[in-house]
Amino acid sequence: MNKIALFAAAAVTAVALGSTAAQAQNVTGTIDLTGSVSAKCVVDPGNGSTFGDTVNFGELAQANGTLRSGLVSDFGTRSFTVKCNGTNPQISVDADPLATAASPDTGYDNSIDYTASVAVVAVGTNNGPFINASSAAPSALAAVGSRLANSASNVNITTSGYHTNALTDLLVASPTYTGKITVVIAPN
């Protein structure tokens, strides 16, 4: 009698253990994935590295030979879209005067100076606009202060203060006066 009871208890235990072992078989493996995104700035559309535009002012002198007015509005605002994925991009501006190679005599000028201004749209702190006078050395890279906004036309370039060395200077005749504004936007 007692032996039967003991056998029964042992049998129940063995069956229960077998069942538990079968249900506890969940096993796992682990896969780690890594990737990277380097800091960069690209021009939209096209994801290129350069943007640009051409402004043709036409006749620069007024009837009396001195610099005409209206160049600021002729230039207007030149807008571009630049996408940077860094936290605090940097910007430098280098404005070169509108100039021609013809040498000027006294009372003449072969160069028109101006000031270029680059304003950006940022998501937070905005240290702009970033300015450079064509008569000065290029500005150094300066931090925007926060990310550039991921929006169209987030870089806007304007000009101001067109002038010759003297207000009465006559612009030397030349078929071509050329100038350039170079804006560098660096990821950071």
Binding site: F7, A11, Q25, N26, V27, G29, T30, L33, V37
Partner: protein, 216 residues
């Protein structure tokens, strides 16, 4: 033979049959422990006492499915996606299972994307999507299923992905037996990121956990 001796012999004689049944039927074990006493027909036997002991013990048995990865062949590894905004990427991690019966496999993602930590900024993102594919060699042939990783995010809740989450007898992609069959793998892949939001610069990562379980 003394009556008590004969009673004991009858009681002991039940032991082998009862034990055989008890090994297979745990539920009936306790009922069988109640002693049954039968009596030889002779004088002094209590009125109405049984002359035999009849026991009906149903016997059923099953073998529980065993399921796991072959030692050294679990899907453990690292996939380097490289510069995820520059070019597409793909990586596979092989595995081999030993599952003696129908089984289930499931995958969960820590982030639901390749992600980098930091605050959210409008117009930018810290999460790059990718796809997860299971390619399993089981009895009956190759089974393939693919889901966007967002569908197996640990925080995603119930989704349409049939291998989402942690494998259990009732959860995960149901598969036929697979025992030491080579050729199974899990794959993660994505084209170069081309979303409208800008991926912020940084190091991106995710962890996939692959689990298997016997199916119920």
């Amino acid at each position: 033979m003394h009556r008590m001796q004969r009673e004991r012999i009858l009681q002991m004689g039940l032991a082998p049959a009862a034990l055989a049944a008890l090994l297979a039927v745990p539920g009936a074990a306790h009922a069988a422990t109640t002693p049954i006493t039968a009596y030889y027909p002779e004088t002094g036997v209590p009125v109405g006492a049984p002359a035999q002991a009849v026991m009906q013990i149903p016997v059923t048995a099953s073998i529980g499915g065993v399921c796991g990865f072959v030692p050294g062949n679990a899907p453990n590894g690292t996939i380097d996606a490289g510069q995820i905004d520059v070019s597409g990427w793909s990586g596979q991690v092989p595995f081999t299972v030993r599952c003696t019966a129908p089984w289930r496999i499931a995958v969960s993602s820590l982030n639901g994307a390749l992600a980098t930590p930091g605050p959210d900024v409008t117009g930018y993102t810290r999460r790059a999507p990718y796809d997860v594919k299971l390619h399993v060699n089981a009895d009956g042939g190759i089974v393939e299923r693919a889901c966007a990783v967002a569908l197996i995010d640990q925080a995603a809740g119930v989704t349409a992905c049939d291998f989402e989450g942690t494998a259990s007898p009732a959860n995960g992609l149901l598969l036929q037996r697979s025992y030491d069959l080579a050729g199974s793998y899990i794959q993660a892949s994505a084209p170069a990121y081309a979303g409208s939001d800008i991926l912020v610069a940084g190091t991106y990562g995710d962890t996939l956990t692959v689990s298997v379980s016997p199916a119920s």
